[in-house]
């Protein structure tokens, strides 16, 4: 599976899934394990809060509606204790306002139900990396180089001229090099919209970008991950 092949690139993550629905939780634990990660499960808010306070996790996946203590309160309590483990909120409430509420409560990302697992793992991996990662001035993938200060992009010795939006698209992809980024993640982070654009708008932007950075080179760097999204990586690795 695509998610599996991607997991080989990413390091193993330790996750806590706080979800009261037994089936959904089992499915997530199993799917994350198959992807090479370690996942614990808490069935209610209090248990989740206790586990998240005492154990070290890379990312928390928190359902919003939980017995005993709701998801936003769990995150709020953790933040108040100084626990800054990144948290992704899963919620059946998908409207714009709910999302804002979730992020304000201290969540780092928000994914409305129903979601695809590919979307979830891509976001979780980005969160895990963001937590430990650093902001570099120059991103490099293979012989592709992006300078965030001078806004110059080089492939080998050739300078590639990009439109501002194309630059931001490539910047986001390279920032998460080796990680799958989904179409909605691109729309959120590059365009700052959270709606489903219905048509293949992102694909067309990607194919334009691809024609600029990969066309004429033996090793393509920008890859499509079927059923999930895109990843930029040095194919040789």
């Amino acid at each position: 599976m695509s998610a599996k092949s991607n997991a080989k690139v990413a390091r193993t993550m330790r996750l806590l899934i706080i979800e009261d629905d037994r089936d959904a939780a089992d499915y997530l634990v199993k799917a994350f394990r198959e992807a090479g990660h370690v996942a614990d499960h808490a069935a209610d808010g209090e248990e989740g809060l206790a586990l998240a306070s005492h154990e070290r996790y890379d990312v928390l996946v928190v359902d919003r509606l939980l017995p005993k203590l709701d998801g936003l309160s769990v995150i709020g309590a953790l933040r108040a204790k100084g626990v800054s483990t990144p948290a992704l909120i899963l919620s059946a409430l998908g409207a714009v306002d709910d999302r804002i509420k979730g992020l304000r409560a201290g969540g780092d990302d928000y994914l409305p139900k129903p979601y695809s697992f590919a979307e979830l793992i891509a976001r979780v991996e980005v969160l895990a990396r963001r937590h430990g990662g650093r902001e570099e001035t120059v991103y490099r993938v293979g012989d592709l180089e992006l300078d965030r200060l001078s806004h110059r992009v080089l492939r080998g010795k050739d300078e590639i001229v990009l439109q501002p939006r194309e630059f931001r698209l490539l910047e986001y992809l390279m920032k998460h090099a080796g990680q799958v980024v989904t179409r909605t993640m691109l729309l959120e982070n590059v365009w700052d919209y959270h709606f489903d654009p219905q048509t293949n708008v992102i694909d067309v932007h990607i194919s334009r970008l691809r024609s600029k950075i990969d066309k004429g080179f033996a090793h393509p760097l920008l890859h499509t991950v079927r059923g999930a999204g895109y990843v930029i990586r040095d194919g040789a690795r």
Partner: protein, 471 residues
């Protein structure tokens, strides 16, 4: 509760009672004041008359002596009227006058007093009251002049009777008036609450009666009616939502189920199953999309996302969304132009307005793109505009596609209406409905116009500074 009991408990009746009490007290006070003043006035007048007579008679005594006085007093006593005269010796024996009897010791004290008396010529009549003044004349003689007080008492009693009657009349009229006013108010309230009962029982089309007098009850009824109007519209919307949800979700759910059944029945290899499962996931994604769109329309209709409104530039949205869709349009052989140079301040939900515009653009690309093969004559271009016109912001998307026939245009923007031809196209097919719901949420509208040829969709929103005034 009895009808009378109900009536007595009305606010109108209680107010009547309070007013009645206040008016009765006021009337009693006024009449009492009047009576006392009248009495004092009559007393003053009597005293003035008595004083001048005493001066006359004293002068007479000084000029003509006791004899002259007696003659004058006898003459005056003979005149008809209410005057009293009495001349006595120092020991109190009567010398002249018309007084038969007095209260004891009256004659001995000089000055003013009130006394019961009898006239000399009517010794057997009942006693009357008089106001008298006694003066001492030289040589110990005493002179008494007075006036009967019957007139004063009569006047006083007339006023007292009038007072009692007027208070009684005020009370009776007030009670009757209060009764009728309360009954009238009660009848109207009763009519309103009866109507409210039938409305609560489920007849949402019912409205409260309005008397047409424009009073506070009418205003209350009109406001309640407006509220009912809104509730009815929401209920109608809810019913439409459920009907449309049923239709829009049942159909793809049936397809989904059929596909799974077909796979179970006919699939022979793993790859057959894989294909079927992938198709199922695709179908369920489509289902989620429809569901999300319906939910978002319903939430926009309910006015819920009003909280997340901020002020922003709609021209920027037009440029952003156009930039997002430009490659897609380009791929379909359509040129996408943006005319949004000047800022267009809007107050609203950026996310929703962006999505509405994206839907319009998506539609334009879908239909105009499909049509360019056929209508080669028309220039294959899409124009996105953002302009300020008066206190309105207009976000427009014009295409050169087949357009929508005028007859269908108003129907196309109604909530949850999908034109038949759109059902076969990919996407939720709810783009126009959603855009229209977003416009209504912001107090604007979605207008569809002939782009000659093609369709021009206009998202009309109130300007930011104007919108702020209303929010």
């Amino acid at each position: 509760m009895t009808a009378l009991g109900k009536l007595l408990r009305t606010t109108a009746f209680r107010l009547t009672l309070v007013y009645l009490l206040v008016f009765a007290l006021f009337a009693a006070f006024l009449l009492g004041f009047l009576a006392l003043n009248t009495r004092r006035m009559i007393n003053d007048q009597i005293m003035r008359t008595v004083d001048s007579e005493i001066i006359d008679l004293t002068n007479m005594f000084e000029r003509a002596g006791l004899r002259g006085l007696i003659v004058a007093v006898d003459t005056r006593s003979g005149n008809p009227g209410s005057s009293l005269y009495l001349v006595t010796t120092a020991s109190g024996d009567g010398l002249a006058g018309n007084v038969g009897s007095l209260e004891p010791r009256v004659i001995e004290n000089t000055g003013w007093s009130e006394t019961a008396y009898r006239r000399l010529e009517q010794p057997d009549s009942e006693e009357h009251t008089a106001l008298v003044r006694v003066v001492r004349l030289p040589a110990g003689f005493r002179l008494l002049v007075g006036r009967d007080l019957a007139e004063r008492e009569r006047l006083f009693s007339i006023v007292a009777v009038a007072g009692r009657w007027s208070v009684a009349i005020v009370v009776v009229l007030g009670l009757v008036g209060g009764f009728f006013v309360s009954r009238r108010v009660l009848q109207r309230i009763e009519a309103m609450s009866d109507k409210a009962q039938t409305i609560m029982a489920g007849d949402l089309t019912g409205r409260l009666p309005i008397a047409g007098t424009g009073d506070e009850l009418d205003r209350l009824a009109a406001n309640l009616n407006a509220m009912l109007e809104r509730i009815e519209a929401l209920m109608r919307g809810l019913k439409e939502v459920s009907d449309n949800v049923a239709h829009d979700l049942r159909t793809p759910l049936t397809r989904l189920r059929n596909r799974c059944e077909a796979a179970l029945r006919a699939a022979k290899s793993d790859s057959d199953y894989r294909d079927a499962i992938e198709a199922t996931i695709e179908e369920s994604d489509q289902l989620i999309r429809v569901f999300d769109a319906l939910l978002m329309i319903a939430r926009a209709e309910s006015g819920e996302p009003r909280a997340g409104m901020t002020a922003f530039d709609a021209a920027e949205i037009a440029r952003d969304v156009s930039e997002l869709y430009e490659p897609v349009a380009d791929e379909k052989g359509l040129a996408l132009h943006v005319e949004a140079a000047s800022p267009a301040p809007v107050r609203g939900n950026r996310e929703l307005i962006g999505q509405a515009l994206a839907n319009l653009l998506d539609n334009a690309i879908k239909y105009a793109g499909a049509a360019t093969d056929r209508a080669a004559g028309a220039a294959p271009e899409i124009v996105v505009t953002a302009e300020t016109r008066g206190d309105q912001i207009m976000l427009g998307v014009g295409d050169r596609g087949p357009g929508i026939p005028p007859a269908d245009r108003t129907r196309a923007v109604e909530r949850f209406v999908r034109l038949e031809q759109s059902r076969t196209e990919p996407g939720s097919g709810l783009g126009l409905s959603l855009a229209s719901a977003v416009a209504r949420l912001h107090g604007g509208e979605l207008r569809l116009e002939d782009n000659a040829p093609g369709l021009r969709a206009l998202l009309i929103l109130p300007r930011a500074d104007v919108a702020r005034g209303t929010s």
